[in-house]
């Protein structure tokens, strides 16, 4: 070792070691942080592990709990997925609120609030997003939840390929539309996008294994409907919307027109699932299973490109001065949500998801009485919006 500058070298190296240890402890804590899902007093009758439907998932980071809420009377079944994209917190939180609040009297509700647990365990680099979000419950407890990344954690599957070739593995399509492809090439990082990996591969990457388990679960249990909960940037066209597979278009259309818009005054769009946009829940789970496949989107200012300073407050309140400016340009033509109020709080976003899920389930029961699911204790949309405090709906 050279003698010149030895002192400065040691100081710089010590600072680097401190930074590595400090960052490493923060990352490691997030990776291992376990959210508390409160099932005491809820209608959860049992839990299963996702690896029940793909043995290759056992003892991996993707082997999450499936919460099962069974009514006393037999009926239809629905699977609700939250946390597909972990930087879309309303999808994750809506699933948690539903599993803690829903009380089915007829039929079965399956909830997986953290379907991409790997994505919840880290943040997107250079985005400046918070690691956690917090809510205070009615009895004063503070509950902590992950704010994660759009994609799985690279330490679970590294490196990404240059190009991700999506395939359907060994699955045989049941309802493939004419002229549809079953493969697609995407940018390499999409190999870690949970919602580009369906129907999944049993012994593929971790993300593909999780997708395979979901597909196999739906087929094994003959689940009637699957609803995947998301959020999207306010400037993204598919926003405040239900994306429906062709087999679920009628249900989505009727739920929108009769329940959401006419009865509750919730403006929402229905978008058809594109035939050749492969790997997504609303596409593949409709093509490869008999379930009605649907995906819900709601605007989230904390993930958009126009946003300013990004912190927990933005994730929860949706208040962003940059989006306010954007909403005033060209009469709001830059955005696909009404941002004239200057905010888009998570209580509103979760309330929209819950109202949409309830409307879709109700509509399935109207159209297919043998698939009816009756749920009590569904949080009221107007109450949630008025209270603007999501913690009141957490146990």
């Amino acid at each position: 070792m050279k003698k010149k500058g030895l002192v400065s070298t040691c100081i710089i190296l010590a600072v680097a070691v401190f930074m590595a240890v400090y960052a490493g402890m923060s990352f490691s804590k997030k990776r291992n942080f376990v959210e508390d899902v409160v099932t005491d007093g809820s209608a959860v009758t049992r839990t299963e592990k996702l690896s029940t439907y793909n043995s290759y998932l056992a003892n991996t980071f993707g082997d999450v709990d499936i919460y099962v809420l069974e009514g006393q009377e037999p009926g239809g079944s629905v699977l609700i997925l939250g946390g597909t994209h972990a930087n879309e917190p309303a999808g994750h939180m809506a699933a948690i609120v539903m599993l803690e609040q829903f009380k089915p009297t007829k039929g079965t509700v399956y909830v997986i609030p953290d379907i991409c647990k790997s994505g919840l365990s880290h943040n997107d680099p250079l985005e400046g997003t918070p690691q956690y979000i917090h809510f205070t419950t009615a009895d004063g407890n503070v509950r902590t939840f992950h704010f994660g990344s759009r994609a799985s954690n690279p330490i679970d599957q590294w490196p990404d390929p240059d190009t991700y070739l999506h395939t359907s593995g060994d699955w045989e399509p049941l309802h493939l539309p004419e002229n549809a492809q079953t493969t697609q090439t995407l940018s390499g990082s999409e190999v870690r996008n949970q919602n580009r990996c369906y129907p999944g591969i049993a012994n593929g990457t971790l993300t593909e294994k999780v997708s395979y388990a979901v597909t196999n679960m739906i087929k094994t249990l003959n689940i009637d409907m699957i609803i995947d909960l998301h959020e999207s940037s306010p400037e993204y066209a598919v926003n405040n919307a239900i994306v429906a597979h062709a087999n679920a278009m009628e249900i989505a259309g009727m739920a929108k027109a009769l329940t959401l818009e006419e009865e509750k005054g919730i403006a929402i769009k229905v978008e058809p699932s594109p035939i050749n946009l492969r790997g997504l829940t609303h596409r593949e789970l409709g093509d490869y299973t008999d379930a009605f496949a649907l995906l819900c989107e709601v605007g989230n200012p904390s993930q958009g490109r126009f946003r300013g300073y990004t912190d927990e407050e933005l994730a929860i309140t949706g208040k962003d001065p940059c989006y306010k400016v954007a909403s005033e340009i060209h009469n709001g033509a830059l955005l696909y949500v009404d941002y004239s109020s200057g905010d888009f709080p998570i209580s509103l976003r979760v309330a929209r998801h819950i109202a949409t899920v309830a409307a879709l389930i109700d509509e399935m029961g109207y159209e297919y009485p043998e698939k009816e699911i009756i749920i009590d204790n569904v949080p009221d949309y107007d109450e949630m919006v008025a209270a603007d405090n999501l913690g009141l709906w957490l146990r």
């Binding site: 050279k2 070298t9 710089i12 680097a16 330490i155 599957q157």
Partner: protein
């Protein structure tokens, strides 16, 4: 852990050791030493599979 992950970890280890060697024996300007140190931090975390 897949074979390709192990290959990438070996590459990361070689780069880490090379940068550390440069920091300890070659670089004389403080700016260059700081640059070396900044490179070492993410490499160390990836070698330890912490993200």
């Amino acid at each position: 852990m897949s074979l390709i992950t192990i290959v990438y970890l070996v590459i990361a280890a070689i780069v880490f050791l090379s940068v550390l060697y440069n920091l300890l024996t070659k670089e004389e300007k403080v700016v260059d030493k700081v640059a070396c140190a900044m490179i070492l931090v993410p490499l160390a975390l990836r070698l330890l599979m912490i993200k």
